[in-house]
Each structure stands twice: as C-alpha cells, then as structure tokens.
C-alpha cells in the first residue's frame, strides 16, 4: 500500500540536515521504497503489508531517526514523551461488547460545547497534500491524526446516539446501513457494527461511519472514538463490501494498541483547542485483550551468519534501540508498533542488517561442494527438438494453459474461477489451440508449420493431474509424406531407438497434425550408436518397380525384401506412381566383391518372396 507523507510534516518529529532526495534515498535503501517525490515535498512511499506501523508520519519519522545517522546525516527527535491525562465529566456511554475478539481495545471521550467550523490553514493544507479533502474541524482532526499517528478515528454526534448506548456486535445477513458517503450498504454476516439504544446501526466499524450519527454544523457534543479492531474481520468485510477505505487498510494491517490512548488524548487536545469545546466525560478505555510484552533472545552470531560479515555488537544494540526495541540482558523487547511483525531472531537480523546497509555487504559466490547432477536428458533434448523444428521452418508457439469448452476435449479439468469463458478448462491436448492459431493466421502464407512443447493436464483420481510434456505439430500446405518425413527425421535427430509409433491426423483444408508424448520420446531417445566395420568391397545399387495393392503396408514389403538374403544391405523408398512402387536396393557382400550375376539371383528371390507372401509382382 502506498502512502503520501510530506517531508515538511516529518520535520515536526525529526530535525535533520538531510534534503528530501537524501531522505528518499535513505528510505528506499533501508526502509521502504519511495516511489515518487511530489512537488518537492510529498513522498509517495510503498509500505509493505507487514509494516502497518509505516503508514503514518510518526512511523516514517521513526525510520528516519534510525536511518539518517547511518547515512551521515543528523537526526534529532523532537517530540516529547506523552503522559496520560485524567478526564472527568457527567456524560456517559453505555457500552456492550458481544465478543472481545471484535474490539481488543475500545476508547472514547465526549467533548461538549463544540463549535463546528472550518479548520485552520495548516491542517487543511497538510490534509490536501496527502489527498484528503478538508470538511470541518471535527472530521479534519480525526483524519489528521490518522495520517500523523496511524490511528484511524471516528467522531459521532453524541446526541444522535440513542440512549447514549452502544452495542458492538457482528452483523446479521441482510442488515442495512447508510454510510457517510450516502451509500446504502446491505451487509453480509460477520461485519463488525455498532447498534445504538434504538436498535439502529450507527457505525460500520473500522470502515466508515453511518450517516445517522454524523457530525454536522449543528453538532455541539462530539464522541471521539479510537479503537483496535480484529484485522481479519475488517479485511474480510471491507473486501466483501468492496469498500476499501484508508481506515480499513490501516486496521487490517494492525494498529499499535499502546498508542490508542495517546492518540485519543492528542486528538481531544487539538479538538478542544480548535472548537472551543471541553471534555465532558471520563476517559472510556475498555481492553478486552491483554497484550503480553514480546521478547526474543538476541544472537549476535546468528545475525553475522545471515549477513555474511561481522557487524559489531555495539552497532546491533544501537540499531535496535533506535528502532524502539528495548534490550535487557539477552532479551530484546519488541515495541508495541511492531508486535505482529517481529517474531524470531531472523526478524531482528533483518532490522539490523537493513539499517547497516545491504550495499555495504560484500559480494561472494557460494563455495562448497557442487550439488549432484541428475540426468540432464530432458532439457537438452527439448532444445535439440526445438532447434531441429525451427530449422525445418516451424514457428514455435506458446498458448495459455487453459482453453474454452469447445477446445477442452474429453475429461478436461475445469477451472473453478476462470478469468473468462475462453479459459475455462485445462487443456488435455495441444492440437486444438495450434489448429486455432493456424486458422487465425490464414493469410500469412500458403505453407505454415507450427509447434508447441508444453504440458497438458490429465485428470487422475485422488491426486494431482498427470502433467506430461507434449510436442504438438500442426502444418498447412505440407505434403503428407513430407510431414511424416520431418517427424521421422526428428526421431533420427534425437536418436529415438526402436519403432516409436505416431499418428498424423488429417484436418480439412489440407491441415495435418501430430502430437507426440515428449516424456516418452525422451525415454526412447539417445539410443546407442552401433558401428559396422567398413568394407573394401563395393556395393551394387539397383531399382526395382513392383505393383502393390492397398492391403499390404510398406514396412511389410521392406521386411520381405530385406529378409530374402543377408546381402540385401539397404532397401529404400524411391518413388510411387499410381500402383507402381519403386524401391532402391543396395546389395553388399561383406566377404567378397558381389557380382551382377549374384545380385540377379537375389533379385529373383526377392520377387518370388513378394509374390508368394503378398501376391506382389514386378511391373511389366
């Protein structure tokens, strides 16, 4: 979450010789990232979610006090310690809290004889710098201290609270409230609300007040209100209502429970001064939760081990103290504003090392033993396959993991919360999307070749889906045998051993596709090479043309030809015209020079063999 913090406001807390750019740099490198400097005064700061304490002028000032001296600048803390004052008065508030976990701390005070009017210029200016519109002195005071102290506050018109009674409870489903922005909100179950003596809802706690109890120009009695709410409920409610207010964003990150009373009294002090009012009640302070002081055992050696360098004990102690930690012996006590964030020694190490400066740590490559290498096959083969296909003229595609229902295929898993209807199912095959890509690129060229190497997701009972890597190839304008040849050549390139079956599917428009299980291809790949000794004898090459029928396959013919005689060294496809198949045959005798008389005998054997097995005859 980003906050706007004026440098001029920070100077109320810290006196320094650093300029705004020095401050921005120091914060970015040691605390929070300063995203922007606006009008040479306002810092836009990204505060990480664990650091709710940083969402205020006070919080940023605390960081500056610790960080600036490390950067060689002065930093003098200007604010004095706060002492709690006693209040008295006749105005009462009857409070019932249905469940202490809703409001760990509840504080309030009534101020009478308030004159509602415009705020002074300084307050209006500061609010405007942080993007808040000034309304009147009462509302402005609550906003002013939310920014300065990080404590969201609310002001009620005391006389609009029926029976001066508050019941803090969780909402029932369907209850209604009209908030200060004049929006009627219908509540889900479990939102923290306040009901008054007439059973009306008068506050959407921690998010926004209700219109029925708001301060207006006729208000004379103000109930000033500072609480700590359950962060989880505030977050859930504000999200489900779609109403993310500055207050809610602070409450859900956790506010400092020990600063509740100081904040309330500071605001009361300012309000009485600006409005001419006076306190007319006792200080109401109900604590439902007891916070025990949290402490962590200091371990200087561990801090050095994490840093990888020696940070002196004195520096560690001084840094922790400057951030508000209290060191007693071996124990480091966590300040209340860091209560939710600091748990273990590693957290303390982070505090120390970030202030010391990550920049100052040396850069070293890790030494030690190298890890054991597993078999490296898959990725190397992927690269090989991709390069091969690229050189064969293919475009590599990357598609989303999810597809629309029309491309899902049988058994596809459903996405519970898809982004849109096009991404409803996890794909079980790469082909449908590749066909779609082909179709979308119709005008590109007559010949288009595409591939994608990605996983698909196959449902498996009681477990994660199987997620095998597939190689999908889709082509247009490529001859069937040429495409088949590319696949076969790929197998050769990957040295796939044995007979790796694959299927080419024909689609309308001269489109062909083939999808191979790449994991299985990897298992079959990298076959050993076999060396056949070279021979000094020449081979004789001859072509024969035979008439084939549709009932026999090419591989059957090839094995019939090869098996006729050991001297048939190679048989290859040469040509096919109508039903006439031309084979090129290489004859080789490894023991002596083969003669044309011998090849004639073998050839006759081949023809006889083909005839007796398949009724295949030589072309006349």
């Amino acid at each position: 979450m980003n906050v706007l913090i004026p440098f001029s406001w920070l100077k109320d807390y810290v006196k320094t010789n650093a300029g705004i750019r020095d401050v921005a740099k120091a914060l970015s490198e040691h605390s929070f990232s300063v995203e922007k400097i606006i009008d040479d005064d306002v810092l836009e700061i990204e505060v990480t979610p664990n650091r709710g304490d940083g969402l205020s002028v006070l919080g940023i000032a605390r960081e500056l006090a610790a960080v600036l001296p490390v950067k060689g600048f002065s930093a003098e803390w200007l604010k004095k310690a706060f002492t709690v004052k006693k209040y008295s008065g006749k105005d009462k508030l009857k409070v019932t809290i249905s469940d202490n976990s809703l409001v760990p701390r509840f504080s309030a005070a009534v101020i009478d004889k308030v004159k509602v009017k415009e705020s002074p210029v300084l307050i209006k200016e500061r609010l405007s710098k942080v993007g808040i519109r000034a309304i009147n002195n009462v509302v402005d005071v609550t906003n002013y201290y939310m920014i300065e102290l990080g404590q969201p506050m609310h002001a009620f018109d005391y006389d609009k609270i029926a029976g001066h009674e508050m019941i803090v409870r969780e909402s029932k489903k369907g209850e209604e409230i009209v908030t200060l922005d004049a929006v009627k909100r219908i509540l889900p179950e479990g939102v923290i609300v306040i009901e008054d003596g007439d059973g009306r809802l008068i506050d959407l706690c921690g998010i926004m007040g209700a219109q029925n109890s708001e301060v207006d120009e006729n208000t004379t009695k103000v109930l000033l209100f500072v609480q700590v709410y359950d962060p989880v409920r505030i977050r859930k409610s504000s999200m489900s209502l779609g109403h993310r207010t500055e207050a809610a964003l602070r409450f859900e990150k956790g506010v400092d429970f020990e600063s509740v009373i100081p904040s309330l009294q500071t605001a009361v002090g300012m309000l009485t001064e600006l409005s001419g009012g006076e306190v007319s009640s006792e200080l109401i302070d109900l604590t439902g939760t007891v916070y025990t002081k949290k402490h962590i055992k200091i371990d200087y050696e561990k801090i050095n081990k994490i840093a990888g360098t020696v940070i002196k004990k004195d520096f560690v102690n001084a840094t922790l103290s400057s951030l508000g930690f209290v060191i007693k012996g071996n124990d480091v006590y966590v300040p209340s504003w860091r209560y939710d964030d600091i748990e273990i020694i590693e957290d303390l190490a982070e505090e120390v090392i970030r202030i010391y400066g990550y920049q100052k740590l040396p850069n070293e490559l890790p030494g030690g033993t190298l890890p054991h290498h597993a078999k490296m096959g898959t990725f190397a083969l992927e690269d090989k396959a991709k390069d091969f296909l690229k050189h064969m003229g293919f475009f590599e595609c990357y598609n989303y993991s999810a597809v629309p229902g029309s491309m899902a295929g049988h058994g596809a898993l459903k996405v519970k919360n898809p982004l849109n209807a096009d991404l409803e199912f996890l794909r079980v095959s790469l082909t449908p999307k590749l066909l779609d890509v082909l179709n979308k690129n119709k005008g590109y060229s007559e010949t288009v070749k595409l591939f994608e190497l990605s996983s698909v997701y196959l449902s498996k009972k009681g477990d994660l889906p199987d997620q095998p890597y597939m190689l999908g190839m889709t082509v247009r304008g490529v001859d069937f045998l040429v495409f088949k040849g590319i696949v076969e050549a790929l197998f050769e390139e990957l040295r796939v051993a044995g007979d790796f079956g694959f299927e080419i599917t024909e689609h309308p428009g001269g489109v062909l596709s083939c999808e191979l299980p790449f994991d299985k291809l990897v298992d079959a790949a990298g076959g050993g090479r076999v060396y056949s000794p070279l021979t000094g004898f020449n081979s004789i090459k001859e072509d024969i043309t035979i008439i084939v029928g549709d009932a026999t396959s090419f591989s059957e013919i090839i094995s019939a030809v090869s098996n006729t005689d050991v001297r048939v060294n190679k048989v290859g496809f040469k040509d096919m015209y109508e039903d006439a198949l031309t084979l090129s045959i290489e004859f080789l005798d490894r023991a002596k020079q083969i003669t044309s008389e011998e090849t004639k005998v073998i050839r006759d054997g081949i023809i006889k063999n083909l005839d007796s097995k398949y009724g295949i005859k030589l072309k006349a």
């Binding site: 957290d347 990550y358 490559l365 030690g368």
Partner: protein, 344 residues
C-alpha cells in the same frame, strides 16, 4: 594384361580441370571417349582376352567408362551455364542467396536459454515441478497459512477437484516457489536449483498474462549468507545485462524469506540518472531473500545447520528489461500472431 585404371582416371581428371576453353574440352573428349579414344581401345583389348581375365577387366573398364562419361557431362554442364550467364555474371552474384526456409523460436524459449546458460555455469541444476499444484506446496509450506492476507496478492486459479485433507485445494501455481519445497524434500543437499516453469494468475491486461513463466533460484548449504546472494546476483546481472548495470537490494517483505529483498537494477533507458520509466534511476527486477526457517523446516531441513537464499522472477519481464524491447502489450507473447513471432 596390366591396366592401371586409377592412373588413367586421375590423368583424365587433371586434364579436364585444366580445359577452360571449349576447344580443349573437345580435345579431351576425343582422347578419352572418342572413336579412337582410350576407352574404345581398352574395350576392344578386353574382348580379345580369355574368359577369366575378361570378366575381371571388363568390370574395371565399365567402371572407367561411367567415370569418364559422368565427368564429361559434369564439366559440360558447368561450362555451358557459365557461358550462358556470363554477360551478367557480376550482377547475378549480387542477387540474394536462396535461403532454406527457417522458422522461429519463441522469445520465451530464447530467454529461458539465456537464463539457464548463466546459472548452469554456477552449478545450478535446471528442474521443473508441477504447474497444477497442491495449495500446500504453493502456499502453506511457504509460511503462508490459510487466512494470511499475503495470499491475496497472488490472484490464484483454483481447479475444480476435491480438496485433499492434508495438501488442500488444487491450484495453478502462481509462482515457481512451489519448487522450493519439492526440491528440499528430495533430501539431496547441498542445493543449487534453477526451476523454470509455467505459472498462472487470474489477471490479463497489457502488463499481465494469465499464463506466464518464472525462474526460481534456490541455494541451500551450510553457512549461506546474504553475501552469497549478492555474489550470484552480481554474476547474473553482469552476464545478462552487461557490465555497466549496477544493482541494489532494498528491504521488502515476503512470507517465505527473512530477511526479504527487492532487487533493483539501474535503468537501461537513462543509465541510472532517473527518467519517467524508472524510480530515481532504478528499475525493479524482482524479489529475493534468505529462506525462512519455517520453509526450511517444511522442506525437512534443519535451519540451525543449513541456510539458503531464493529468488523468483518473471522470465518475460527480465527479457523485456534486457533487450529493451518495448512490446506494448505483453499478451502478444501468447497470441501467436505469426507476424509477431517472425520478428524474433
């Protein structure tokens, strides 16, 4: 009869290569293949021989015949084509070559290769873990309990499958950090892992895609400290972005690391001076940190003995930053418009 076929061959070849002009080519023809040429003479010589010798020599003569004929045909072809093109010979050579049709590897593949190359030299081993994953590995074991608000930052896709009592829901992993736990649970130390994998988040705009790639580095050993993370980053940034690029670690917050950092590099556009594309001269590269002791424990590793660091960044983002490619809409990477793909 003795016959040195090989020497005839080499002599013929030599003469042929010297015959630059058609005139000398004719001379060659009549010497070897003409009516009174060497071949004819040999053929008639052979016919006079006894049966046994005839067979052996006949084969040799036949071989010589086809050699000479092919050689002649070859030279004749080249001579005539040169002759035909001669008037524009110089121009012809300036024409573009006839390129074989070569396709294109996707930008993401190219980026993954570059990243892998840098890390493999440091002994990192590339791995890949499930893309559709249990909540436990993607969140819970990474020190993110079920109700933790940090989970909201990952716009997670859920799969319509029954919940496992121990491992929770099935999600599309929103980051490669699920690989941290899975790698640790292999029980093989030390670890230098590079997990490059597909992830998914419920987002789609000019800067975000629902499917994207991340690479995750994880190093675990005894005595691993921030200095080692800085050393590896320095090596990566020097090799990937060039020696003029500087980097810095900034404090940040992630649940699965402690301390946590954001890594910035100097802006490639202004060179670190500060411009409208960067923050005071710096550009965010991604998150990193020292592995949280709870994460080590979830991976079965004793945090009192071992420590480590991890980082996980977007492949597409790092690629854009390195190449300075200003792709105006990152979704183009997954649209597969061939006019886009052909540019890389």
């Amino acid at each position: 009869m003795k016959l040195d076929i090989e020497s005839i061959k080499s002599e013929a070849k030599e003469m042929l290569e010297k015959s630059g002009e058609p005139g000398s080519l004719a001379e060659w023809y009549s010497k070897y293949l003409g009516k009174k040429g060497i071949l004819r003479t040999l053929t008639s010589d052979v016919s006079d021989l006894a049966v046994e010798e005839k067979k052996e020599l006949g084969r040799k003569v036949n071989e010589l015949k086809s050699y000479l004929e092919e050689a002649y045909a070859g030279i004749l072809n080249s001579v005539t084509s040169i002759k035909k093109d001669k008037p524009l010979e110089n121009f012809y050579k300036t024409l573009p070559g006839k390129k074989p049709e070569i396709g294109h590897l996707h930008l993401i593949t190219q980026a993954i290769r570059e990243i892998n190359e840098v890390f493999s030299k440091l002994g990192f081993i590339r791995v890949r873990y499930p893309e559709v994953e249990w909540d436990y590995y993607s969140f819970e074991a990474l020190n993110m309990p079920k109700t933790h608000p940090a989970r909201d930052e990952w716009e997670t896709f859920f799969i319509d499958l029954p919940e496992d009592p121990k491992l929770g829901k099935v999600v599309i992993t929103p980051h490669t950090s699920n690989g941290q736990i899975r790698e640790m649970l292999k029980g093989d130390l030390p670890i230098r892992m590079l997990n490059i994998s597909r992830c998914g988040r419920r987002q789609s705009d000019i800067n975000h895609v629902p499917t994207f790639y991340q690479f995750e580095g994880l190093v675990i050993d005894k005595n691993i400290s921030i200095t080692h993370l800085k050393g590896v980053l320095e090596y990566l940034i020097y090799n990937f972005f060039g020696k003029d690029t500087k980097f810095r670690l900034r404090p940040y917050d992630f649940r699965f690391t402690e301390p946590s950092f954001e890594v910035d590099v100097t802006c490639g556009i202004c060179g670190g001076k500060g411009c409208r594309f960067c923050k005071e001269g710096w550009v965010e590269l991604g998150g990193a940190g020292m592995v949280h002791p709870n994460v080590l424990r979830a991976g079965g590793i004793d945090p009192d003995v071992y420590s480590g660091f991890a980082f996980g960044w977007g492949v597409e983002r790092v690629l854009m930053m390195r190449t300075g490619l200003k792709i105006d809409d990152i979704r183009y990477l997954f649209e597969n418009n061939l006019k886009f793909l052909e540019q890389f």
